[in-house]
């Protein structure tokens, strides 16, 4: 899961990036509206955390521009202006949720989780596939009740596949959603990661679709 943080305050920006990275997301960040708009317009983010009071181009304009250009990723807005008119303006511009400043980081994390879950059509923070259960809130993975220990990148991969259960995901797409933009990408490493995750899970849910990519589905759907 790859996220974008657009926040002009350097300290808050750093805190958000750190907290979200620690929670297992690949995170890019921007400190002004124009840069934020450019990134959101060109990179395939799974969700965006967008401050409304931004220099160069304000948050509402950025959001409106994205929606006009057909970018549909869920957007969580951060606003110091917690008047209802600001909330209405934010939601009318296309926001999916908001957090009023000052906030606790846990609240942002919870909202982001909820947004990602909603975007993939899941009602619960626990995603399951057969015996496999991924708790996105606690970043825990179990198979038939037994905890599986995954690295951050492995968890990110599994979590992305779980959020897109039943869909064929190409390697390129996986690369785009697992790494932030500064990462030296190499799609061959994906194969290595997939192999490690399969081994750790011990059940056959991550399948290779030849020439297209990977698909996560229930073991008994295997044909």
């Amino acid at each position: 899961m790859r996220l974008l943080v657009v926040e002009d305050d350097p300290d808050l920006n750093r805190q958000l990036v750190t907290a979200l990275s620690d929670a297992g997301y690949a995170v890019d960040s921007a400190t002004d509206g124009e840069e934020g708009h450019f990134l959101g317009d060109t990179e395939p983010y799974d969700a965006v955390i967008l401050d409304l009071g931004l220099p160069v181009m304000d948050g509402v304009s950025v959001l409106e521009a994205w929606r006009r250009e057909g970018r549909a990723m869920p957007v969580l807005i951060l606003t110091a202006r917690d008047r209802w008119s600001d909330k209405v303006a934010g939601f009318d511009a296309g926001a999916d949720d908001y957090v009023a400043k000052p906030f606790h980081m846990e609240e942002v994390l919870a909202r982001v989780r909820a947004l990602l879950r909603r975007a993939s059509g899941n009602a619960s923070s626990e995603l399951s596939c057969g015996d496999l259960v991924v708790d996105t809130a606690g970043a825990r993975v179990t198979v038939a009740g037994n905890a599986i220990k995954l690295t951050s990148l492995e968890f990110r991969l599994l979590s992305y596949m779980m959020h897109h259960k039943g869909k064929v995901i190409s390697r390129t797409e996986l690369v785009e959603h697992l790494y932030d933009q500064d990462f030296d990408r190499d799609s061959n490493t994906i194969e290595v990661f997939v192999g490690r995750v399969r081994k750790k899970l011990g059940i056959h849910v991550l399948k290779t679709v030849r020439g297209l990519g990977y698909c996560l589905s229930e073991p008994d759907e295997q044909a």
Partner: protein, 462 residues
């Protein structure tokens, strides 16, 4: 409004009073001038008779005698008011001479007895004869040829015959002056109305501004008023500007304070220890204080802005739309009903804060159903102006008995398990009070809480 204390009344009353006094004076003057003219012409005729008498009277011994009769036959009809008489001053009756019309009556001449009167000086006056005729009399005194004795020559005419002429003139005069007076008063009335019409135009515009239907005085006014309207426009602009500025600064302050507070809270959250706990605790207090005072400053800056009006339907629609998205997981469609005619007399932002908090509460406490209603007030606070009601109801558990009082107090929360600052209902309550409106909490038909917000609306009391 007291109609007597109006410019129109003052102008009309003053002008009417002056005109009536002047017209009355003119009437009196004209009437006396006419009477004097009538008198003068009668006197001239009587003088001609007097001259005839003088020419034809002579002394026969010591008695006056006419050598030929006067041509005017009026002096022969008995007691018709046309008389002449010649008598010696203080002389005996037998030496008197009089017209046939006087029969044996004689007219007194005492009123003409004034000291140091020159010979031949004419005097005029009024007297009555035996049959009550009003007589105009002229008298001259001469001594006749051959005698030193002074004779009084008196000629009278019947003034009653002329009185009719005078009163006919007076009647005509009253009629003409009356008409003139009415005409003048009507002219004054229209003049004042016409002259003051720009003022009623200005008043109408100010009403429009107060009701928020326009934001400046736009009409074309006479120069005397134009200066006032220009000043009023400047005043309105500076008023709006001051409020705008205050609002912007409050917003900027909010933004400026809240981001560092977030940084502090989060930084402290990352590190454990007593210092971090203290920072977290104090940052929390600061956050609450900041939002409380910002909220207060915001409302004070907005209080009584001239002429703000907004459509409550738009506000409720926007908030319902937003809150349905915020709480998208509840999957609730708010059952909303609107009244397109209703307009809130106040700031849109204030209404948004009030309705936003009420709806937010409903989304927090409902058990699946929420309704919102905008309508003219069924229980207006008074009848001076009209009121509107915004009713937000849910099917949650509602408030416990006596909970309404506590719910509206600042910082009080009846259920500490749900998130919130405890400021929501208090903000609604205080903002509604600021507008002279009220918030009442009760049990809804849906079973949960029903919040009825009564606020001033635009339009006269209905």
């Amino acid at each position: 409004m007291n109609r007597r204390n109006s410019l129109a009344f003052r102008l009309i009353a003053a002008a009417a009073a002056v005109s009536i006094v002047l017209l009355l004076a003119a009437g009196v003057l004209l009437s006396s001038l006419f009477t004097a003219a009538v008198e003068r012409s009668l006197d001239a005729r009587l003088q001609a008779v007097m001259d005839g008498l003088l020419a034809s009277v002579e002394l026969d011994g010591n008695r006056p005698k006419m050598d030929k009769a006067l041509a005017d036959t009026r002096f022969e009809i008995p007691l018709n008011g046309w008389y002449w008489q010649i008598r010696p001053i203080g002389g005996a009756k037998d030496r008197q001479l009089a017209s046939a019309s006087l029969l044996d009556e004689r007219l007194p001449i005492d009123q003409f007895n004034v000291p140091d009167r020159a010979d031949g000086a004419r005097m005029a006056g009024y007297m009555r004869d035996r049959s009550g005729n009003n007589l105009r009399a002229i008298e001259q005194r001469f001594s006749l040829f051959g005698s030193k004795e002074l004779y009084s020559f008196l000629v009278t005419g019947n003034f009653d015959e002329l009185e009719a002429e005078v009163s006919a003139f007076n009647n005509a005069l009253i009629a003409v002056l009356g008409l003139l007076g009415a005409g003048v008063v009507a002219a004054i009335f229209f003049q004042v109305r016409f002259g003051l019409r720009p003022l009623s135009g200005l008043q109408a515009e100010l009403t429009q501004i107060r009701e928020g239907k326009q934001d400046r005085i736009s009409g074309d006014y006479p120069v005397e008023i134009q200066t006032v309207t220009d000043e009023l426009n400047l005043l309105l602009e500076s008023n709006t500007e001051i409020i705008e500025r205050a609002r912007t600064q409050v917003g900027n302050l909010a933004h400026a304070l809240k981001t560092p507070l977030s940084v502090l809270t989060n930084e402290a959250g990352l590190h454990g220890g007593p210092l971090a706990r203290k920072v977290t605790e104090q940052a929390g207090i600061m956050r609450d204080q900041v939002s409380m005072y910002l909220d207060r400053a915001r409302r004070a800056a907005r209080a009584h802005t001239i002429g703000s009006v907004c459509d409550p339907n738009d506000v409720v629609k926007a908030l319902v739309r937003t809150l349905e998205r915020i709480h998208i997981e509840q999957g609730i469609k708010v059952d909303a009903s609107y009244d397109a005619q209703v307009r809130f007399r106040g700031e849109r932002q204030d209404l948004e804060e009030m309705v936003g908090n009420l709806l937010d509460n409903a989304f927090k406490w409902n058990a699946g159903r929420i309704s919102a209603t905008v309508r003219p007030a069924r229980a207006p606070i008074d009848n001076r102006i009209s009121w509107l009601e915004i009713i937000v109801a849910d099917n949650g558990s509602g408030l416990p008995d006596g909970g309404a009082e506590i719910a509206m107090q600042r910082g009080k929360r009846l259920d500490e398990t749900k998130p919130g600052s405890g400021l929501g209902l208090n903000i609604v309550f205080e903002t509604a009070s600021m507008y002279g409106g009220k918030l009442s909490l009760g049990r809804s038909e849906l079973g949960g809480l029903e919040a009825v917000l009564t606020l001033p609306a635009v339009g006269s009391a209905g």
